[in-house]
Structures are given as C-alpha cells and as structure tokens.
C-alpha cells in the first residue's frame, strides 16, 4: 500500500561495542503509519523504543551504531536509509521532527526561545528574519503560550516545565513536518500539566493532520491518545494492533502481564498481578523467545527457537508460538 506516510521494514539496530562485539538493540521492527494517526510505542526501559524512534531521524551516534542489512525506512515512498547525511539534513526538522523527554535539557539555556526557534525555521526555508519571527510567534500562540511576542525574547529558565515542553512542540512543528516523533513527552511533567500537553498533541493531530509516534511507558497515556499500539520487549515487537483491540484483547503473554500489573484508579485491587523476573541482558539474549524466561506459558519450543511475528486476522501481529492457546487463557 502506498498510501502510508511512513513505512518501516525489518529495521534492526546494532551498537558497536569494541572491535567485533555487536549488540543487537532492535531486531526486525516493521510498522506503518498514515497521516493523522498516532502510533504508541510502549515497553519498559531498555526495550528499544527510544532507539527505534531516534533512528528514524538518524540521530544515533554514527561510529558506534549501525542499521542492520535490509533495514528500510520509507517516508512518502522515499527511502531514507540511503540518503547522504547532507540530504538527510533537509528531512530532519522539516519532514520529521522530534520532541524529547526532558524539556529542561533539550533547550539551550544560553539562547533565547526566539533565537532557537528561528534558527530552525530559517535553516529550512529561505525567508527573512522578520518573517521567521512572525512564524515563530504564530507557532507559540498555536501551542497555547500567552504573550508569545514577549516570550520570544525570554530564556528557557524563565519558563516552567510545561511551558518549555510547549516551546519544544512549537519548535518541532514550526516547519510543518508530516511526522512528529514524541519520546516520552510528558514523563517529566506533573499529571495536571501532562493533561494539558496530551490535549495539545491531540489538537495538533486533528488540526494539522500530523502523524505522531508517541513513545511512553504509561498504559493510561496510550489508551487515551493513540490509535495504534506497538508493544516492544527486549528490542522486538511482541504485539501490534489498534489500541481498542489491544486493550480489549491482548494476546501476547507480555502484553497480558503488562495490562494486569497496572494498579487501577476506578477499582480497589487486592493484589497486583506481576511478571516475575527481569528483562534479559542485551549482551546475552536467549536464542529462543526473548520473553521465555518470564513467560508463564513457556514451553521447550519457546526456549529453542525464536517465534516469528505472525499476522493474524485484522491488523493484529503477535510474536508468540502459543498464540492460539494464550488467547484462551487471557479471555478468562
């Protein structure tokens, strides 16, 4: 299908650790995204969700990381992995842009908000300073910053955390990108501020039709904002489907465990279900299923061979040998 805005296929990322030591951080990740859709990537720390997203903007350190063979990232049908660095600079910021987790550290403390924003606009468009200034003022207004003209001359320390994140969003949107990658945009913020920012992200999607990749570990954020969900574990996609389908009917044992281990607000829970054990080390990944050592449904087959990502009915993709059987268990 060519209507997809972004199509990622067989993406693999290795970190180079000394001469002959390659650590596979992301393995066989494929997904696609259409205009005006929000894809949520969830998983625990170290599962490769941020690395996947950063690789879309080619922001990983060059000497110490590489895409594995056969990786393909297509934006509007154009292959991005083969572009030269110079060509890629045209893409980064203009067609794909990114919001980072820490609004405190992702803005330069010694430059004014205006200067940082205008730099980006002027780098991608041939326009005068005056026009760039106006564009930035307008962007700040769009993201809900009052007295935006005055704010342009202020420094990041003069703004609160929520305001800084709004500035980051304004900056990321100032060149009207078709894809926005948001890496845990609300994790560092308080709940009431988080609610404001999530509301803003939904507005952007509706008004500008921007496709958004939202990385988070908060299942609540996923349920309320995204259209599609990709659950990652130890560098692989374990489950992928629409958000409603995943929440109503999780199939992979990891997703099921994740859902059951969240304390709920609207009901008192006597005891939380847990996933025993911890994530395996990237250096010594098991040869079979990566979740096998924590999986309650694990069999010998799971320990021996790695399961493929299977396409089921609808859009569901699951990486599990026992997918039919766990399904029955999860239905309870």
């Amino acid at each position: 299908m060519s209507e997809h805005l972004l199509k990622v296929e067989n993406l693999g990322i290795n970190f180079i650790n000394g001469k002959d030591n390659r650590v596979n951080a992301v393995h066989d990740v494929s997904f696609e995204l259409s205009r005006g859709e929000i894809l949520g990537i969830v998983g625990e720390s170290g599962c490769g969700k941020s690395v996947t997203a950063t690789s879309l903007l080619r922001l990983l350190p060059k000497g110490s990381s590489e895409l594995s063979k056969g990786s393909s990232i297509k934006l509007n049908g154009r292959e991005l992995t083969t572009l030269t660095d110079k060509e890629f600079r045209e893409v980064r910021g203009k067609e794909i842009s990114m919001i980072f987790q820490e609004p405190m550290t992702s803005l330069n403390p010694v430059h004014t908000i205006g200067r940082q924003m205008m730099e980006m606009v002027m780098a991608h468009n041939k326009i005068s300073r005056k026009n760039a200034f106006e564009i930035c003022v307008e962007m700040l207004e769009k993201v809900g910053i009052p007295e935006s003209r005055q704010r342009m001359g202020e420094y990041p320390f003069q703004l609160s955390g929520g305001m800084r994140q709004r500035v980051m969003i304004a900056m990321a949107l100032s060149c009207n990108p078709s894809l926005l990658v948001a890496d845990e945009p609300t994790t560092a913020l308080d709940v009431t501020i988080q609610a404001q920012i999530l509301e803003l992200i939904l507005e952007i999607k509706q008004n500008l039709g921007t496709a958004i990749i939202l990385i988070t570990h908060d299942m609540g954020v996923v349920a309320e904002t995204t259209d599609k969900v990709m659950v990652m574990y130890a560098g692989e996609i374990v489950e992928y489907d629409g958000v409603k389908e995943i929440f109503h009917h999780p199939m992979h044992p990891y997703t099921i465990g994740l859902m059951n281990s969240i304390p709920r607000l609207n009901q008192t829970t006597e005891r939380l279900a847990t996933i025993e054990g911890t994530v395996p080390d990237l250096n010594c990944m098991p040869s079979g299923c990566r979740f096998a050592n924590r999986c309650p449904y694990c069999t010998d087959r799971c320990r021996e061979a790695a399961p493929p990502l299977v396409q089921l009915g609808g859009n569901r993709r699951v990486r599990c040998w026992r997918v039919g059987e766990t399904q029955e268990v999860s239905a309870r």
Partner: protein
C-alpha cells in the same frame, strides 16, 4: 491489626527554607515548603500523601523523621513530643521510624556489600547478638524475595528492582512501627513496580507497620493506602479514607487531579477538568487559598482568606475549601 491506636500526630508543622539574600531575594524571604500541616497516623495504617512536584510532600515526610529541622509545630510519636529532641535523644526513637527512599541507585552505598548495608541498623541500634546478625540479614533477604547469595554482592551488581528490595530490607530489619516511603516505586519499570508494591503490602500486613506513603501517582496510592491526604503548595487540601476520596472528592484540586490521570481503559471517555496555568511559586504564595489562582470556583473570598481543614460529609473526611461540593 491494632486498630485506631494513634501512633503519630503532627500539629501545625511548618518547614521554611531560608533563601540567600544574594539570589534575587533582597527581602530575605522564605520558601514555604510545608505550611501549617496537621494529621495523625494510627498504628498499622497506611496514609498516602499525594501531590505534584514541589508541593512539599517529600519535605513533609523528611521533616517528620527530623531529617530536616522543624521551623514550627509539634510532632508526637507514641505520645512523646520529639520536636526538640537532639541527636542523642532521637537515636533510640529512630529505630522505630525508618525511611525508604525514592532512588535505589542513589540510596545505597556503592562501596558496601549488601550484607553490610542491611546490617547497619542492627549494628547501630545493637539489635541481637553480633554473631546472629548475619543470619538475621539472611532471613530478611529471604523475606524481601532475594536470597543469601546476594549478601556478598555490591549494589551495582543488582537491578533496580532488586536494589529497591534491599532498601526495603534495610528499613524493615529493625522492625520499625513507622516507615516513611518517599516515592518508592517511581524509579522502577511497570512490571517490576507491581512486584515491589506487592512486597511492600505484604510486609506491611505481616509486621503491622504504619506507612506514610509519599507519591505523585494516585493509582499506586489507591492500591496500597487506607487513607489519603492531598497536598498543594505546602498545605493539605483534602484528607479522607481512600475509597471516600476516590468516589467522592470534594476539593476542586482533588477533582482536577483525579480527572487528569490517564486511565488505561479505551472505552471510558471521561469529562476531563484541565487546569489552566502552573503552580505558583512557594516563595511567593497567593495570600488566600493556595489554589485560588487556578481554581475554577475561586471568588474574592478565596483570594483573601485561607480556608482551614473542616469536616465534610463522611466521618474522617476533611476539606480545606470554602465551596466544597
């Protein structure tokens, strides 16, 4: 559980931090982290303390343990007023009040083995005979879901969840009757978080310890606490039994806080109250109600007068608002 026996009573406690005159503060103002807070904790009870960052919840927890000096107010622990106790007089009491810290990567000494870390309270308070202390540590490790092999390890050899278990073991080994838990699971991943929360709940029920559970995460608090206090800008704005607070919140801030939490449920579309603006600076708080600058109900009375905590509705439910609903 030993119901309804009062363990700790805090009365009108205040903690102000002095700000250096040099740093844009010519008047020599104070940062009012905790401002006139009173509450009690019964034996074996878990009181949750929730609020956004900077509301003074962690400062309050530390002040009760006298890790900060107290600016004003009284702390009665088992009937004794400990506010003016010095280091020496506090020492025997410290055995009975412990703390679990937020970040297990920072709260364990990297140069000490796990055995030494967990043993420290036993040595300090001279609990048991020295030759049995090692067995005591091993027993404690088993209780928190680790095993005796971990004794000779160092903190860096363990994962975040395991380290937090060590922190819990250290806090619990002197068998305290009161533990302040300062965001004990915020630094952990979801699946590990559930393990640690279950452990804390088990320990609490087994040993009958009272917790002051400080957290910004309301769903965690709901899972573990009997009673919940909501803080905003140094004040407690609402305090009630857990079920009562969630089913029947009265303070506008509590309502906004509850509605702001993303719920992991795709079918539930809730009416969300989105608060405008940010929390005011505790260096320069509003004259009247602390919440008046963001409150949808605020009137001129709210801007001038400060509301006290008053009983409202169900027994044990207190709200600091002129217009509780």
């Amino acid at each position: 559980m030993n119901a309804q026996k009062e363990l700790l009573r805090v009365e009108h406690i205040r903690k102000y931090f002095a700000i250096h005159r040099k740093y844009g503060n010519p008047k020599g103002n104070y940062l009012r982290a905790v401002h006139d807070v009173s509450f009690t904790i019964n034996e074996g009870e878990v009181l949750g303390l929730v609020g956004e960052s900077g509301c003074g919840k962690a400062t309050l927890g530390r002040t009760i343990l006298k890790l900060h000096s107290v600016t004003a107010g009284d702390i009665y622990f088992k009937g004794e007023n400990i506010v003016n106790y010095g280091f020496k007089k506090m020492l025997p009491i410290r055995r009975d009040m412990q703390m679990i810290f937020q970040d297990p990567f920072a709260s364990l000494n990297p140069r000490m083995t796990i055995e030494k870390i967990i043993r420290a309270p036993l040595d300090t308070f001279k609990i048991g005979e020295p030759r049995y202390r090692r067995d005591h540590v091993a027993e404690m490790l088993k209780k928190v879901g680790l095993n005796a092999d971990h004794m000779n390890k160092f903190p860096h050899e363990m994962s975040g969840g395991q380290r937090q278990r060590v922190v819990i073991a250290r806090a619990m080994i002197s068998n305290p009757s009161f533990v302040v838990c300062d965001e004990p699971v915020s630094a952990l991943d979801v699946s590990v978080r559930a393990q640690v929360l279950n452990l804390m709940k088990d320990m609490q029920q087994e040993l009958g310890t009272a917790y002051l559970f400080v957290s910004h995460d309301l769903s965690t608090v709901r899972y573990i606490c009997n009673r919940i206090a909501v803080m905003y800008l140094g004040h407690i704005v609402e305090i009630a039994d857990a079920d009562e607070l969630f089913n029947n919140p009265k303070h506008p801030y509590t309502k906004a806080l509850l509605s702001a939490i993303p719920v992991p449920d795709v079918d539930q579309k809730r009416q969300r109250i989105i608060l405008q603006g940010d929390v005011p600076s505790p260096m320069n708080p509003p004259a009247g109600c602390a919440f008046s600058t963001r409150c949808p109900l605020a009137g001129s009375k709210c801007e001038q007068l400060h509301p006290d905590l008053v009983a409202c509705g169900a027994p044990g439910h207190y709200v600091a608002c002129f217009w509780p609903e």
